[in-house]
Symmetry: none
Subunit: 416 residues, 2 copies
């Protein structure tokens, strides 16, 4: 275990009402972990001086580092700065660098610089001011009783800039901590308990300083190995040894040995091959295309998707033959194959994929609910798979989408 422990306090009424998901805390935690600083706890409180004071009183004794975000904006409900000033026994002074920076930002944004904006340049005289290049509220670095307390704005990109430019380098410099090495194994096709049973002996044999965690996701399980130690190179060797050993035991389920989403994995693979992809989606209703286009740079390989929610679209746009549907049913191997071929032709892509299924009960009872056929083709060879899903509509759609991406990945890697 690392000697340097951190707590994260996120401040904001909007976090307690549930209007805003606290993405800052996860991002900060990931950065600290990468530095070898262990996050012990995360606490969220409202924009309320007493609650912030109580959180500081309770959290500071636990850890050597305390990072706060939120509550630094210009509006009246921001109570964090005066509270921190009082808490650390300082008084508010105007910082000339911050004042010049804020005034410049206002000029750049063509907004009048009012007297009330001057307050944004006030900082407690007991902190080191951290330059916020992306916004008006500076970061504040306090030290007390050998502990470090840092306050940052809650706007995600401002907080991220401050962390990367100021906070992380200063923390690295100040602390010599254990190295943390994390490696993952991404699997698809079996559940957590099946995998746990398969690798039970390997898990039991892990040394004290290496920990295995399971993160189940629809249709997939991510395994994370976390090792802590002093010698980074030796630790990497050691953790990667266990990673290979476990991955080898469940080889047919492994799709990646790095922390990556399926959509990123596909993007990387297609772009590195210089090949393109086109989709024809019926039951997934555009969700595969939606996922693929969440990744920046998807335009580098993704041509598009024909979301064909009606038979006439399958026939007219994709060229699926009417008699194929009539003879085999719209949810069938044959239709999935013609959809994949149609997508490849219509979208002029190297690879084509088609998916058709019945995800929730409807009028049509000629196929069982949860039946899905998907096909992938490169123009030469076509592979079709059938899924039998068993959850509700939304969950089935998500699993079908993930399984579709796994199928495409396996196909282009010659694993089918």
């Amino acid at each position: 275990m690392s000697e340097v422990k951190a707590v994260i306090i996120t401040i904001g009424d909007e976090l307690l009402s549930g209007r805003t998901v606290d993405t800052n805390a996860a991002w900060i935690a990931a950065q600290l972990n990468r530095q070898g600083i262990e996050v012990l706890r995360r606490v969220t409180v409202g924009d309320n001086a007493e609650a912030i004071r109580a959180a500081l009183d309770e959290e500071l004794p636990r850890a050597s580092v305390c990072l706060l975000t939120g509550g630094l904006g210009p509006t009246a409900d921001d109570v964090t700065k005066p509270l921190l000033c009082a808490y650390f026994g300082g008084r508010m002074v105007v910082n000339e660098d911050v004042l010049a920076h804020v005034a410049a930002l206002f000029r750049k944004r063509n907004r009048p610089f009012l007297d009330s904006n001057r307050r944004q340049a006030e900082v407690p005289d007991v902190c080191t001011v951290l330059h916020n290049s992306l916004g008006t509220a500076p970061g504040m670095w306090f030290e007390q009783d050998g502990k470090v307390i840092v306050s940052m704005p809650g706007v995600p990109y401002e907080m991220m800039g401050l962390m990367e430019d100021e906070v992380l380098p200063r923390l690295r410099q100040r602390y010599f901590s254990d190295v943390i090495v994390q490696r993952c194994i991404i699997t698809a096709g079996e559940g957590e308990s099946f995998i746990a049973e398969r690798i039970k002996d390997l898990e039991a044999a892990l040394p004290q300083h290496i920990h295995l965690a399971y993160l189940p996701q629809p249709g997939m399980v991510h395994l994370w190995l976390t090792g802590k130690g002093q010698d980074e190179r030796q630790l990497i060797r050691e953790v990667e040894l266990y990673q290979r050993e476990i991955a080898g035991r469940i080889e047919e389920l492994v799709i990646a040995l790095e922390d990556i989403t399926l959509e990123q994995l596909l993007g990387k693979a297609f772009i590195s091959m210089g090949k393109t992809l086109g989709l024809a989606e019926s039951c997934t209703g555009g969700m595969i295309a939606h996922k693929l286009t969440e990744v920046m740079g998807a335009a580098g390989y993704f041509q598009g998707s024909i979301v064909c929610y009606q038979e006439h679209v399958k026939e007219r746009v994709l060229g699926v033959r009417h008699e194929t549907i009539a003879r085999h049913h719209v949810v069938s191997e044959a239709v999935a194959e013609e959809m994949a071929a149609g997508a490849r032709q219509v979208l002029r892509s190297d690879y084509g994929f088609g998916i058709t299924g019945l995800l929730s009960p409807g009028d049509d009872e000629s196929v069982p609910v949860g039946t899905v056929y998907m096909a992938v083709t490169d123009g030469q060879r076509t592979v079709v798979r059938r899924l039998q899903l068993q959850y509700d509509r939304i969950r089935n759609k998500e699993i079908a989408t993930r399984m579709a991406m796994v199928l495409i990945w396996k196909f282009i890697h010659g694993k089918l």
Copy 2:
């Protein structure tokens, strides 16, 4: 402020390492707030018995309700259940109902029922078991010193099912002898403070037992009126009177007077009109189609979407003219219009919609990042709107998707 206060404790190493964003906490907080239960704090700790114990020791004195999620899976790193059992002075016993449910789930999924799975059916004998219809880990309801402590699995959809089916109804029954009546007003197009200003006098005139809450979402604000009282019929009349009065004041912003998503709203509207819809999506990459098809029965009006992530797909499949793109730019009013018309024709739908934009920085600097054009047509009349979005790619995509649905809704209701 409500007399019933709650704290939320989320458990999981993956939350502290930052690998997983804690979406459960926000969802739970929003549900509790709607019931009139105020969330005081949120705390996250790792899969570690001592840390969970310390969090319970510290948080229980603050609130009457404490909700926990996570740490209930079948693998070795789950420590929550035994800890809770010891904390509340119970012993573990096999619950036959849970055992039967877990075994049935395994049969249904065609998975071997392993010994480690039997442990899933063990529960402390000092809790009320809450049935988890969507997964193997049951919820557990403890009472101590007049306080309620509920433990739920961390898998979001299982937790949501448990909250809706078991936890919220039981909390209502326990804490509110009063009848609660809630009515909502869903608005689009203006922010929270604009609406608050417009209805200031109406809000101030609300009686003590009726409360108004604002829930802003990207591009929208949901207003919730919550009334508490003894006589349900009278309370309904009273709350609906205020609902109509407030909705009347901001009529042009109101899109629904019921708790309904945009995709449900569009589905209801199209099906009741007996009309159909076809889409052409560039920058939203299929997300609008994905959202519309989350709703059961979407096949009753939704024809499909041409996800045209490349210019050649816009031209070849949708019939957007090459010279329109060359002259006006692919992100332009003219291209959005031709996409909408193309979608309507190619998908043989009554209404056509097209959207094109630049959601994140790329090579193309000829339009500002965040520029989006969207068009909707019925074949006679076409309306185009421009958006200027200012967040990151994923957030911009989500806002564009919502704004697209609002535009279509307003168009078919003659509000444009």
